[in-house]
């Protein structure tokens, strides 16, 4: 896709900061063997509260969810950072963020133990990041800045 310099800079920056966020969150969890989403899940609100609570209290399920979450975050972040398979990463990231949102929706009347860093109604930072990933998906830049450039190049060369 062709972009002006400013647009490309804006889109690549957005991709990198989200990648940065995902990758670091994922790695911190992977590197800490004691990390678990248990408390976060137990603190869930909204209409799926019970399902998240069930996950939290089932050790085997929790183990799978924790592993998928940590490795998912890391791989999505890594992909966005290096610029490879970013379309699938962006979609996966949106799905992951949607689950976070379902667990802690910003709806009036729901209070969480963990404090909220602002005032939100329906839209919170999770939703903002989710839609930012949608932009990454709609305007892919990894063929411009990223490893996909070589992949693309190789394809063109073959053709």
């Amino acid at each position: 896709m062709e972009f002006s310099k400013t647009k490309l800079f804006a889109l690549v920056s957005l991709r990198l900061v989200i990648g940065w966020h995902f990758f670091y969150e994922g790695m911190v969890k992977i590197l800490n063997p004691a990390w678990t989403s248990k408390a976060y899940l137990l603190d869930s609100g909204g209409f799926l509260k019970e399902i998240f609570g069930w996950i939290a209290l089932n050790d085997a399920v929790l183990w799978v969810v924790d592993a998928m979450n940590a490795w998912g975050l890391m791989l999505i972040g890594f992909s966005l950072l290096i610029g490879l398979f970013t379309n699938i990463s962006a979609i996966s990231g949106m799905i992951l963020l949607f689950f976070y949102y379902l667990s802690h929706p910003a709806l009036p009347g729901i209070e969480y133990l963990f404090p909220v860093d602002g005032s939100y109604f329906i839209v919170n930072k999770t939703i903002v990041e989710l839609f930012a990933l949608f932009v990454i998906f709609a305007f892919p830049t990894s063929q411009n800045i990223g490893l996909e450039r070589f992949y693309d190049k190789a394809k063109n060369t073959r053709a």
Binding site: E2, G19, N32, A39, L57, G83, L113, R149, K153
Partner: protein, 520 residues
């Protein structure tokens, strides 16, 4: 802008730069992760991991043996709660719970918890209550051995005894559960023990000092299995607290603060008066028992906790819960002295027991003070706090330990910034298989707020059920095994509470003469 490049074959220098442009970011992130892991390493090498903490391992099994036949003396609200913990509930109540459960998730869980409660292999063969309505309700619950609603199958209604001596003498009864007002605990317990019946008695043990000695002697002489109804003995966090303190996690303890904070009529013992209560439906003379005579008074009958004539006040009724928890954790025993003060400051409803009470118990041999502070007209939550030189411990269903800024033991960790004064560094939530050493801000936050879950093996378990089970297990084992709140623990509980009460009444400090076993 890269259209030109794409049209050319091969990878240009420009392609290389553009393709790898973002990789330096990984270096920065790598550095960030390195810093993070350094912190973690420091933590892993710290002394917090070298503890051997004893975590309760699930629910003890039920000991096999013949079905035990129980007699219940006092089937009022507490008596019926105990019956529920044994597996017997009035079918009308089950109907009510079922109807609620269809609309409300809380009630659904409540009902399911009761229905899935382990069968203790007991039956209630005798009920004694001086109020006809309570007796009837207890009998209906006792007959409901299949935990059915009123349309379900019931067993035969057990026998109602009009007086407790008759119940205690009955050959149909192996063990007696006492859930009466305080002034009747010991007379009934002595009667039961003299007939060789095992006893589960609600707290506090006794109403007077003299009878405390009597019941201890009778229980020891007869060799019955006695359990006092402090179900807090089954609270996991107390067992964990004991383990942590034994390993010197909080340092030398100088002060313990325990409290009662209630602020509603029910909590202040102003219970509803049943419209069916009258001189015909209540055996008033038997209710009075050893208490000074008073003409029939439904108010005194239902709100007996408000009068010294039948009650032991805040000290016997509520402080004993706190005391027994600490006696379990620290083996406190009877204090050297007690000083109490307080008054009737809010509920000026004719009661004689104070609604605000403060008591200080001194333990010079242990170099510590146990402080109790209670009000029935404020719910400002003040939990149980055990204060050590190195850390303090807050206790509830959950347990949280906070390092002290001036700790000697943790000085290095605090200097390194690894421990933050005032931020929790250990937490325990019931049902977990470990005590968490807390590191991340999220963990600290959740621990500080105390996630209140009473899970054991992933399920909520009624501590009264566990406490009864322990008593029944000791009866069935019949090998000298004693329940956790046995007569010695009960004796310490009662004497401590009496020392506080006497101090309040006589407006002086009371002392325990250890050698002559006397309150002076």
């Amino acid at each position: 802008m890269n259209q030109d490049n794409n049209n050319k074959k091969g990878i240009s220098r420009r392609d290389l730069l553009a393709g790898l442009a973002s990789l330096p970011v990984l270096g920065v992130l790598g550095y960030g992760l390195h810093l993070q892991s350094q912190d973690r390493k420091k933590f892993n090498s710290s002394r917090l991991h070298n503890l051997n903490i004893q975590i309760p391992k699930g629910i003890p099994l039920l000991v096999d043996g013949p079905q035990l036949r129980l007699g219940i003396v006092g089937s009022g609200s507490r008596g019926r709660y105990i019956m529920k913990a044994l597996g017997f509930v009035n079918p009308a109540r089950i109907d009510e719970w079922t109807s609620n459960a269809s609309k409300d998730k809380y009630w659904k869980e409540y009902l399911n918890e009761f229905l899935s409660q382990k069968n203790l292999n007991v039956k209630v063969t005798a009920i004694c209550d001086v109020f006809d309505k309570n007796a009837g309700s207890g009998l209906a619950a006792a007959a409901n051995i299949h935990r059915n609603g009123s349309s379900g199958q019931m067993a035969d209604i057990p026998k109602r005894f009009l007086t407790y001596p008759e119940l205690c003498a009955s050959p149909e009864v192996d063990a007696v559960i006492i859930a009466t007002p305080d002034h009747l605990h010991v007379p009934i317990a002595i009667e039961a023990a003299k007939h060789g019946k095992h006893v589960y008695c609600e707290k506090p043990l006794s109403w007077t000092v003299e009878e405390t000695f009597e019941i201890r002697k009778v229980v020891k002489d007869t060799g019955i299995i006695f359990q006092l109804g402090h179900q807090g003995r089954q609270t996991e966090s107390y067992q964990v607290a004991r383990s942590l303190i034994n390993q010197d996690v909080i340092g030398k303890i100088s002060l313990i603060e325990v409290c009662t904070n209630r602020n509603d009529p029910n909590g202040a013992w102003v219970y509803d008066i049943d419209p069916e209560a009258n001189e015909n439906s209540i055996d008033w003379k038997q209710f009075i028992g050893p208490a000074p005579w008073h003409d029939f008074s439904p108010e005194r009958f239902f709100r007996w906790r408000c009068w010294w004539d039948y009650s032991t006040g805040l000290s016997g009724d509520l402080f004993t819960h706190e005391y027994d928890a600490l006696n379990q954790i620290l083996d406190l025993g009877i204090p050297h002295s007690a000083a109490a003060s307080g008054g009737i400051y809010f509920y000026k409803d004719g009661r004689t027991v104070p609604d605000v009470l403060n008591m200080a118990f001194e333990y010079p041999k242990r170099d510590l003070t146990l402080l109790y502070s209670a009000t029935l007209s404020s719910e400002k939550n003040r939990g149980k706090t055990i204060m050590g030189h190195d850390a303090w411990m807050e206790l509830d269903e959950t347990l949280t330990v906070y390092p002290d800024r001036s700790s000697t033991r943790y000085r290095k960790e605090i200097e390194q910034g690894f421990l933050e004064p005032g931020k929790p560094f250990y937490s325990y939530v019931p049902g977990q298989d470990k005590v968490d050493a807390i590191t991340t801000p999220t963990e600290k936050y959740f621990a500080g707020r105390g996630l209140l879950y009473t899970y054991r093996d992933g399920k909520t378990v009624d501590t009264t059920h566990l406490h009864l089970r322990e008593w029944l297990n000791c009866i069935r084992l019949n090998n000298g095994a004693q329940p956790s709140c046995n007569i010695d623990q009960a004796f310490e509980e009662a004497i401590t509470a009496h020392m506080g009460t006497i101090s309040y009444h006589e407006n002086r400090r009371t002392f325990w003469d250890e050698v002559n076993e006397k309150i002076i």
